[in-house]
Symmetry: C2
Subunit: 249 residues, 2 copies
């Protein structure tokens, strides 16, 4: 069994929550891959550099200057810092972007209604390199940056990367999405209202009725994509209850 | 034989020179490790962020904010971009900082006359991970950032990292320092005045007489440290004549 733990941006920005996840990684007795999001830091850096940021449906419109900012922030500071924190806990972490070892190749999103710029949709995960690193006792820590194989880096959604990576591994995988709520909630204001188990067929009705917020839809789609691809266990939870939250079946 | 090619900051900043080195990496038929410097980009970013930079003897005084800038620039943009350019040439590159796989651990430089801040002196290279990556057909691309094993990232000189990495590999290694001159010059204004071969005993006299500039001294010290450590071939040259330049014996 391999654990794939996706650490969301809101958790990256919360020192206590992030410590809780990293402490969990330290005591895990199974091979582990960490995938992390970005958080507010890229937006802050962009603002400091005078680059106005545009978000559309939670996706960052990524021009060339913004691409540099997200690569520097996600693959640079956050990834390297997380790796050092895991090393300090005795976890032999190795930070990667999708370009490293050609682990995640993507294609630049085609312009339809909106030109997202240098945003990538995952085209292929090369699990062989990940298995090689895991077999060598290493813990890959993967930033949400990919490449197109032609030298172009691309900003890529971390939820999608985690789902695709988990699905690619070809063996028993437990995928955990860690975000800033205790699970999928029936009432977004009530952290005790976790829905303990969800099936793919439930999602549309829960969103349509407003019980599950529309903002949860992309994450749920990725969770159920992993379920469909055969990932053994898919869970959405917070940093303090990694074995709890919502199980997607 | 393993090649270790150190790409200096001035080469990183020169698109044509950098392409020439990357093209060379593509046609090499031997295992390869790339170590790269930083270049002006970190200084530019620091200036954009309103962080005044202080250099002492070619070393950047690295406070906490500057550390973030150099990690973002060196381990973030430059390392990830170089990796993608090598991937585009069919080289299965994997970008690393010293924290990745605990490859290069350092100690924060002690405060003597000058407090350099978060600057690291190499304490240990763990060549096992590098050999594992090379054996897996990967080409490590190493940024001049290390960690102290306790979660602290450190800004580290790339010439020193390259020398220490080359010396750690325990087999035949060809170390090439690529910078913006054709070799060690008798006359810094004349690129045809390359000294084809230098011995450690020659260096002090050449510097004292002013034939070799004082700024070359740290690089030469690292080159000869590698020679003393048993590195088979140590060369200082430019991007267009990688088999030429100055051989250190």
């Amino acid at each position: 069994m391999i654990d794939v733990i996706k650490i969301g941006g809101a958790v990256i920005d919360d020192a206590a929550a992030l410590s809780a996840v990293l402490d969990h990684c330290q005591v895990l007795q199974r091979p582990l891959i960490v995938v992390h999001g970005g958080g507010r830091r890229a937006t802050t850096l962009a603002e400091q550099l005078g680059l106005p940021q545009t978000m559309v449906d939670g996706r960052r419109v990524t021009d060339a200057a913004t691409l540099e900012v997200v690569v520097m922030t996600f693959a640079g500071w956050i990834n390297t810092w997380l790796t050092a924190q895991l090393q300090a806990r005795g976890v032999n972490a190795i930070g990667l972007s999708g370009a490293d070892g050609n682990v995640v190749r993507a294609t630049k999103r085609e312009i339809q209604d909106i030109d997202y710029g240098f945003v990538g949709d995952v085209a292929a995960v090369h699990a062989g390199v990940l298995h090689g690193l895991l077999d060598g006792g290493l813990t890959p820590v993967i930033a949400p940056i990919t490449h197109d194989g032609g030298g172009q880096l691309l900003n890529t959604n971390a939820d999608i990367m985690a789902s695709n990576i988990a699905a690619s591994l070809g063996e028993q995988v437990a995928l955990t999405y860690v975000f800033d709520h205790a699970g999928v909630l029936r009432d977004v204001a009530d952290e005790t209202s976790v829905i303990p188990e969800l099936r793919a067929g439930d999602v549309a009705a829960l969103v349509d009725s407003g019980i599950v917020t529309a903002g949860m839809r992309p994450k749920l789609d990725m969770a159920f994509a992993a379920v469909r691809a055969g990932v053994s266990s898919v869970r959405i939870t917070n940093a303090y209850n990694l074995g709890g939250g919502t199980v997607c079946r």
